[in-house]
Symmetry: C2
Subunit: 199 residues, 2 copies
């Protein structure tokens, strides 16, 4: 696997930026944040290291872009909310979540835990936005999207449950999809019927 060290080539900024970002997504997805140096990204992109800083500023900013890509990719298919009674809609939103997370399991589950940078202000903000989006989807699906910040916080908590449960299924492989499905539908039904009224 030669690194194709051909003569210097000139790309349009958008193309070169996208190429570097693609390499960064792959590397940060495989290893953590600390284990990937800008030198690694530059080398695998066949580019001088300074160019990475030129396009993305600092390493942390590059990582922010990477996380943003990993977390917002599944959000595109958020459409398709079925009607019906509450159990039906609960079943639908859980199925949708499991489909999305299983398709992008490696990157999405790795990013939602902020593989290597939790605690940082900016990183936490990006993750919080992704969780907010998922919480919005849940509230909309169950038809309880009208509610104060407390209800929204409860929805975020439920997303936390969904994430940790999905991890037991996809990463630790100790739960089946059917078990995860039943756990998430039962708890969501309970929350809607018994807990949301407190908010």
């Amino acid at each position: 696997m030669s690194v194709e060290a051909g003569p210097r080539r000139r790309l349009e900024p958008d193309a070169r930026r996208a190429q570097i970002l693609s390499v960064a997504v792959r590397l940060f997805g495989e290893r953590g944040y600390a284990d990937v140096s800008t030198t690694d990204v530059a080398r695998e992109a066949g580019v001088a290291r300074g160019l990475v800083n030129h396009y993305f500023g600092t390493k942390k900013e590059l990582y922010l872009e990477v996380i943003r890509v990993m977390l917002t990719v599944p959000g595109v298919a958020i459409a398709g909310l079925p009607d019906g009674d509450l159990p039906t809609r609960v079943d639908a939103i859980v199925s949708w979540f499991l489909d999305v997370v299983s398709r992008h399991s490696r990157s999405w589950l790795a990013a939602i835990t902020a593989g290597g940078m939790a605690g940082d202000t900016d990183v936490d903000r990006v993750i919080a936005e992704a969780i907010d989006a998922a919480a919005d989807a849940v509230l909309t699906a169950v038809g309880r999207d009208a509610g104060g910040p407390a209800r929204h916080a409860m929805a975020r908590s439920y997303v936390g449950l969904a994430v940790s449960t999905a991890r037991e299924w996809l990463q630790r492989d100790v739960l089946t999809r059917a078990q995860v499905h039943r756990l998430l539908t039962a708890t969501l039904l309970t929350m809607v019927e018994q807990v949301f009224q407190d908010a």
Copy 2:
């Protein structure tokens, strides 16, 4: 605030190690993992930087010790499991969890999310052990501690819910303790009565 740069003093290894660890716990608790350098720890401990490496090896190993301290401190008061019917015991374990996490909120909640090092193999193992311990406590409290690995995984998922809900209460301050309590008791009851049977 002078740094007390008195003459070199000689402490017993255990004492010096404990002192450095104490400083490290405080610093890593306040700021993240990346924002704290070994130089910072050494300076605030009034010690040469090389001594930190002498006692703890690498920076990551020091951080492992810090996380272990933060996460195992609350585990001491795990005793006192009351008898009674299921709702009573559920109420008791939730109250116990909220007491513990509110007392050590800053350090425990920060550590359980691995402030700055999630994705690392060793760090994840320490965190997983802490979650396992909490899951054991939950299963014991509800009297369903006999069960396969699947049931244990469900208990870990519930701990994930408890953590994310506690964060909405203690860090984001958008839920009251009463709301958190009600959410966690209702969902735990549902899980015990409707979901645990699948395992």
